[in-house]
Each structure stands twice: as C-alpha cells, then as structure tokens.
C-alpha cells in the first residue's frame, strides 16, 4: 500500500520540476519528497556508474538532494531539473575525490579501501562494459555517462561540469576511443 500511497501523493496532478523546487524553496518538505521520488533512480544510476559502484552511493545521492533543497531558491526555472541535479552530483563527486585523495595520503591505500572484497575479484565480477568504464578517468567517465546514458546535450554537460563545451567534446572523443580499446581487449 505504501508504494501506491507514495505514487498517489506524488502524482496528482503532475507538476514541472520548477514548480516543485519553488515549493521546496518555500520550505515545503513534501515537495522535496516528490522531487526525490521523481529523480532518485536517475541520480542514483549516474552516481553509481560514475563512481564504478562505490559504497557511498547512497550518501552521495542523499547529499545531492540535500544540496538541491538548499539551492532550490537559485534554480533557473527549467521544466526538468535532471541536468541540474546531475550537475550537483558531479560537483559533489569532485569534492569527494579531493577528500578521498587527502584521506588516502594519511592512510595507506590498501588499508583505506573499505571494501571487504579483493578489488581484483570485485572487478572480475562485473560486466565487460563496467570494467571498461572503470578503466577510464573519472572526468571522461562522467562526460560519456552524461551524454550516452543520461541523454544530456553537450551544452548541458558543459554547464553541469562548469567547463567549456570544447572540453566536453574532447573528453567524449577520448572516452569513446578508450572504451573501444578496452572492450576490444576484453573481447580477446
């Protein structure tokens, strides 16, 4: 019943994201729940793939929506906030990378890995496309995932990442080349 109640509460009548974010900016908590229900899956998918399935995916998703709620008053009014949310997630991923880098300089990398499984075994358990994605840099991985999986235009990606559109094109080209090479190697 809860799934149906959730659906009814969030679905009738459908509002554009801009209206929901305006309600969030006015402190309406239920509106944040609606935004979360609407975009949780796509944000979670992106974060999971961008981090190659890190264990803190849920924390990153949580932080993304919390940040979105705090920034709701600055939303630019687009009908769909998906690109905006993904941009927030990218921003948090960068900070996470910097924090992890600082953390791992204090502890040795092998003891700091929180996985209880040998990373080599974990990698082997994945599909070839997941292994190929894990092999390219995070910047290229984010760009190609935003373009091919999340369906963002290059202009939207450039805005989300805060980089020139030419940089996006370069990263996409390099990502495709490296992925093809990695997949060809997997196939041998």
């Amino acid at each position: 019943m809860s799934a149906r109640v959730d659906r009814i509460a969030k679905n009738a009548p459908a509002e554009c994201d801009a209206a929901i974010l305006e309600r969030i900016a006015n402190g309406e908590i239920g509106a944040l729940g609606e935004l979360y229900d609407r975009h949780r899956e796509s944000v979670r998918r992106f974060v999971s793939q961008a981090t190659s399935g890190a264990e803190d995916v849920d924390d990153l998703v949580h932080a993304t929506f919390l940040e979105a709620a705090k920034s709701a008053g600055k939303y630019d009014g687009r009908e769909s906030s998906r690109a905006w949310l993904v941009g927030i997630a990218v921003h948090l991923l960068r900070r996470r990378r910097r924090s992890l880098a600082q953390f791992f300089t204090v502890l040795s990398a092998s003891s700091a890995r929180s996985r209880s499984v040998d990373p080599r075994t974990a990698l082997e358990a994945r599909t070839d496309i997941e292994r190929a994605l894990a092999r390219i840099s995070e910047a290229k991985r984010i760009a190609i995932l935003l373009a091919e999986v999340e369906g963002l235009t290059c202009e939207e990606i450039a805005t989300a990442l805060g980089v020139p559109i030419g940089t996006v094109w370069t990263r996409l080209h390099a990502a495709r080349a490296e992925l093809r090479a990695a997949l060809a190697e997997e196939a041998r």
Binding site: M1, S2, A3, R4, V5, I8, A9, A12, P13, G27, I29, G30, L32, G33, Y36, D37, R40, R44, S48, Q49, G53, D56, D58, D59, V61, H62, A63, F65, L66, A69, K70, L92, R95, R96, R98, S99, L100, Q102, F104, L107, A112, S114, S116, T127, I129, E130, L133, L145, E148, V149, C154, E155, V168, W169, L172, H173, R176, A177, L179, R180
Partner: protein, 344 residues
C-alpha cells in the same frame, strides 16, 4: 572507431555531439546514406551508447529507498529548524572515514551474548544473526531464531534497526524480543519503550510497552497491500495500556460484505479522487472515512492522504489541523517527518 577510408567519417561523432550546424548535419546524413564507411561509423557509435545504457546498476530495495527518503526529509527538516553553516569539505571528508568505520565495525555473532554498538543482544541457542554500523544506524540482521535486545539511548547512541527476512523493526527506545521462523517474522514483544514493525506488504505496526505482535497462522494467505483487498490476515496484536501504538486491526471480510460498501471501497474511492486531481472531493472523502472507520487498517494512510488532499485543496487551516491530528494519532508514524512542518 575502426579505421575508415572515408574522410568524412569523423562527422559521425561530430553530428552525434551537436558540433555540426543544421546544414552540415543534413549534408552528412545525405552522404552517409550512400557511404558504407560513414554508416558503419554511425552504427558503432550507436552500439557503444547502447552498451553503456545496458550496464547493470544495482537498485536499492524498497525498504532501503524508503529509509533513505525518510533520512533526507528529516535532515532537510532539521536544516529548516536549526539552520547552521557547515563546511561541505568537512562533511565530505567524513564519507571515506564513515566507510572505513563500517568496515572496521562489522562483526558476525553466532552464539552467546553480543554487543551491537548501541544495543545489548541476547540470542537464544541456534539463532543466526549479525550486526553492523550503517551510516547513522546500528543494524542488526536476524536470519533465524530469537533475539532479546536492550537498546542504549545514551548520548551519541545510534538508532537501532533490526533487519528481518521479510521486513524490518525500528527501535524507538527500548527492550524488546523478536523471532524469525522459516524466513518470516513470527513474533515481536515489547517490554519497555516502543518499536515500529514494517513487514513487506503489510501496514506498519507500532508496538508500545507490554504490546506484542504475532504472525498469522500459515493457513491464511496474507493479503497484498491494496485498498481493494477484501481478505486480510487476522494478525493478532496486544494493545498496550500505554497509548501511542497504532494497532494493525483487520477488517473482517464477512462483516464488510454484509454491509455493502466496505471501508476498503471508501478508501479506494477517496484515493481515486485524489489521483484524478479532485483534491477537495478527496479531502472530504478521507475525512468521512477517518470518522467512520477509526481503527481501519488504512487509517494511517488515510490520515496522511487527508493532509495531502487538504493541502492541495488550498485549505491551510484544515491542513494544519489534520497534520496535528496525524501526529497525535501516529506519534511514530511513517510520514511524521514529512507532516511535522505542516503542523507548526
């Protein structure tokens, strides 16, 4: 891309990434129709995109998704009530540290008395259970057997959640006992404090001190969690003298049919009204439902949807009153964090 002889094949990627103007794009598309190399380049790009979209992504189960949703709304609410600046860099520095703590704090108990971070656990012989710290919760996993649990609520103690094969049990301050048999929760009894029991496909049950919940006998088929269901398993609950428990009473199917329109029908009609956008009508229907069926299995959902309907109908005063009514009826309700701001 495989080596290509056509000098225009690079335009396949340029077109895909929006680098070509409208005329250039049209020109390339016309060319590609007659060029095997460029057609192949387009197909290779499409295939790579399809493979990326097919990469599996682990989905959070429904219970985990609901917990995350509740956590988000609670944190947002806390931020509204007690806004404070916090360095985001500090927040994110905690992520890898928390992950490391999870790894270090993980422990597997098979027999004997155990300590699960913020709870003292006494398992009966043969019980299979484990515990770990998961973010801001201490999670106890009970696979089989019976655990007696005393939860610590001192400063800094984390809330305790017991994961069951068919749901979860959230502690809200207390001493309780929970049993699992054949992959199903069979009994929960509370000595002190209160718990909320959430089992898949069932309404949440709040149990206070002295209360107990027993699973229905195996001959009954549990009803799917649907407003139109007319077969509800006769779970037995013992309501404690301490108010606050929301008893999961069942509606007798025989009596319901004898009176014509059932409470389930009325609840369903109200939700349909809300679903089609008729918020004011839905608000009236939910209000009448709650007055006529105060102990119905759909009571909590109806009380919550009543608030939503009133809000959408634009009646701020009634929304506030209904939200307060929900919080009074269900102090441990599933939607409390969402409705608390509406009650202020």
């Amino acid at each position: 891309m495989s080596k290509s002889r056509c000098p225009r094949s690079f335009e396949a990627e340029a077109s895909r990434d929006g680098r070509l103007g409208a005329d250039e794009r049209a020109s390339f598309e016309a060319h590609a129709e007659k060029c095997a190399d460029c057609t192949k380049a387009i197909r290779e790009l499409d295939a790579l995109g399809a493979r990326l979209r097919s990469a599996p992504v682990p989905r959070a189960d429904d219970l985990q998704a609901r917990r995350e949703r509740t956590r988000l709304l609670s944190d947002f609410n806390r931020g509204l009530v007690e806004p404070r600046k916090k360095s985001r860099a500090q927040l994110f520095a905690l992520v890898p540290i928390a992950a490391l703590v999870v790894g270090i704090a993980f422990a597997l108990h098979r027999v004997g008395r155990g300590v699960a971070a913020d709870a003292s656990v006494s398992p009966e012989p043969g019980t299979e259970w484990s515990s770990k710290v998961d973010g801001e919760h201490t999670v106890i996993e009970l696979d089989r057997g019976t655990l007696a649990i005393v939860v610590s609520h001192g400063p800094g103690a984390r809330p305790v959640v017991v994961h069951l094969p068919d749901g979860e049990l959230e502690d809200t301050g207390t001493t309780f006992e929970v049993s699992v048999e054949n992959g199903h929760t069979s009994r929960v009894s509370v000595d002190e404090g209160a718990v909320v029991l959430r089992l898949n496909g069932r309404q949440p049950v709040a149990l206070a001190a002295g209360g107990a919940w027993n699973a229905p006998p195996p001959s009954f088929v549990a009803a799917p969690a649907s407003a139109t269901s007319s077969t509800v398993a006769p779970e037995s609950t013992t309501k404690s003298a301490d108010a606050g428990a929301a008893p999961a009473t069942s509606t007798s199917p025989a009596i319901a049919r004898a009176t014509g329109s059932t409470s389930a029908d009325e609840f369903n009609d109200a939700t349909l009204a809300l679903d089609r956008g008729d918020a004011c009508d839905a608000a009236g229907r939910f209000g009448r439902f709650l007055a006529a069926h105060p102990s119905d299995a759909h009571e909590e959902d109806a009380a919550y949807l009543h608030v939503i309907a009133l809000q959408r109908c634009g009646d701020a005063a009634a929304t506030k009153e209904a939200a307060r009514d929900y919080l009074a009826r269900f102090p441990h309700g599933f939607r409390r964090s969402e409705l608390e701001p509406l009650a202020r």
